[in-house]
Symmetry: C2
Subunit: 345 residues, 2 copies
């Protein structure tokens, strides 16, 4: 309504409770070493006045902010088009909330923004950062590393620089891919194709590697490059069909790509899974469940990834040795993936 009723200060609470500022402060921050009688009086005063600590004043002296930044690079791309991001955020948010930390969201748009983000992080406004950067050539990770902010990366950073002390959380893309391809092989398929994701992203590279792990001596023409989009999937599928009409299975780098491939297969009159078995990746529900037939795919626990990232960061912050993968703290944590069987394979 009107402008900001003057918020009560520590001083006010102290006066009301008949104690000193210091004592109120102690109570507010856990209350060790204060007699119950006093503590109770203070709590009552806090309650009555509706006292809320001024975070700015607190940060000024503690140099802690109880806030961490979540940096999402280039929302142009698919990150933003699928629920991935939202789920990840949700996991992060839950974990941060549980530890009374705030989430400051930084979305970057193009290169210029990198310096902005870098400055912000270097500015010490937050205690740490969670960074999502998908592209191999992204300067952001290095920039952030240099800013000296404790950081945990989402997804293995494809980053040519010094890797020491880089902490990241990733899905087991390679293992998941292996499981998918093995499943196809187990179905008796022998001409198993792969449609890759955008190969400037580590997840795509890892999935391709997983495919190769199993199909070591496969016909290289069974691999077609795409970009994680349905349109890319269509294109690649057409290519594959032209090149290897005898293929009997496709492992697509993600569900979107798979949905494109599915469409092309249907057009071409190939029955799924009878003629061609198809597996995707991500278990992106609105897609995987809506395809025809419903998609067999590799699920990753996105939300858990987010939680874990936050947990790792906060734990590091506590220890005072944030990002260094010293001793027992692993530098990279890889979450398992599971195959979800639906109808397409």
């Amino acid at each position: 309504m009107t402008d900001t009723a003057p918020r009560p200060t520590l001083e006010a609470v102290a006066a009301r409770a008949g104690v000193s500022r210091a004592t109120v402060s102690r109570v507010v921050n856990g209350g060790d070493g204060v007699r119950d009688i006093l503590a109770e009086r203070v709590r009552k005063a806090v309650e009555e006045l509706g006292y809320v600590p001024n975070q700015a004043a607190r940060s000024l002296v503690t140099r802690r902010h109880d806030a961490i930044a979540v940096v999402v690079a280039e929302p142009e791309t698919r990150v933003f088009a699928d629920p991935f991001f939202a789920l990840q955020l949700r996991g992060i948010s839950k974990e941060l909330t549980a530890h009374d930390n705030q989430l400051v969201l930084l979305l970057t748009e193009g290169r210029d923004d990198h310096t902005r983000v870098g400055r912000y992080l270097a500015g010490g406004h937050v205690d740490g950062a969670l960074v999502f950067s998908l592209h191999l050539d992204d300067p952001l990770p290095e920039l952030i590393q240099r800013a000296g902010v404790p950081t945990v990366f989402g997804g293995r950073p494809g980053w040519s620089g010094d890797r020491r002390g880089v902490v990241y959380v990733d899905s087991d893309n390679r293992g998941g891919a292996r499981a998918a391809v093995r499943h196809l092989a187990g179905l008796g398929r022998t001409r198993i194709a792969h449609i890759t994701g955008a190969l400037d992203q580590t997840s795509a590279v890892d999935r391709l590697d997983g495919y190769r792990d199993v199909m070591a001596d496969a016909d290289p023409r069974l691999i077609a490059e795409a970009d994680f989009t349905p349109a890319g999937g269509e294109r690649a599928m057409r290519e594959l069909l032209g090149r290897c009409p005898d293929l009997d299975a496709v492992f697509a780098a993600n569900d979107l790509t798979a949905s494109g491939a599915l469409r092309v297969l249907r057009e071409a009159g190939r029955r799924v899974p009878d003629d061609v078995a198809v597996i995707g990746f991500d278990d992106m529900l609105p897609v995987a469940e809506q395809t025809d037939p419903p998609l067999t795919t590799v699920r990753q626990d996105i939300e858990e990834m987010g939680r874990l990232m936050a947990r790792l960061l906060l734990r590091g912050l506590d220890r005072g040795t944030p990002q260094e993968g010293v001793g027992d703290t692993p530098a990279g944590v890889v979450l398992p993936t599971t195959l979800v069987r639906r109808a397409s394979a």
Copy 2:
């Protein structure tokens, strides 16, 4: 690497530039009333030392934070499952960034969280809030309103309380629905059904109202209630088909619902759009473009909605009269929707 190199303070910059703290402060904050010679010297010192103002110290005295909260209620629901949210955020982020504001993201999980959010907002940690709350009975809006934080709502808040001074941005759900139904009518369809969204959300209610605007005296059996999900769409479609086998068009409350309906229609052997024309709502790309046939739908400019919300809030903040729809500031801004014609109608 090591812990936090001690960041330079105003004092340090002042010393280096041979001026007083006050002068440095002036230069850093716009630099009026400082001779160019001095200003230049200060800027040089800032540069050399890599000075970044301590936001906490600044906020402590200015009582501004240059940060606004984005509150998203109940990420359980569909909000989180579609790209809506991400796009909205992106719009908000762009606008905030342009005005050097930070985005603090607050996701709520269930009721208990409401008090947490309320306390946070009341705590004066942010200058304002953008709130997304979909449900009619959500206590959050009222809570926030009481907290006295300048707020702009995303979507018309379905809120029984005092409406004075509530600022919101919404899509023209009703108008969009009307356009969709009129389009169907224009196609010569006469038995036009409607599958509603979750009717505890204003957007669903408004879309239903839009349908009714055009189909004032339609058979009430042509309306089936669903919940914005594909499964709900399937269920409702089956219902409708049973109840009114002669229907020749369906306007679904959103694309997800439409995709479910489409599937049931196909199963039932109805050709789309020949036998039954279908229109969705949202223009949610991964869905609308992937359906078979591609979905005709009503597009809303989600990102612009976000931008607009942020712009409205910041403008209000500037004026010092944030939420009151005083005089020229409208209380609700409704963004136009447009019909996107694809193959389904």
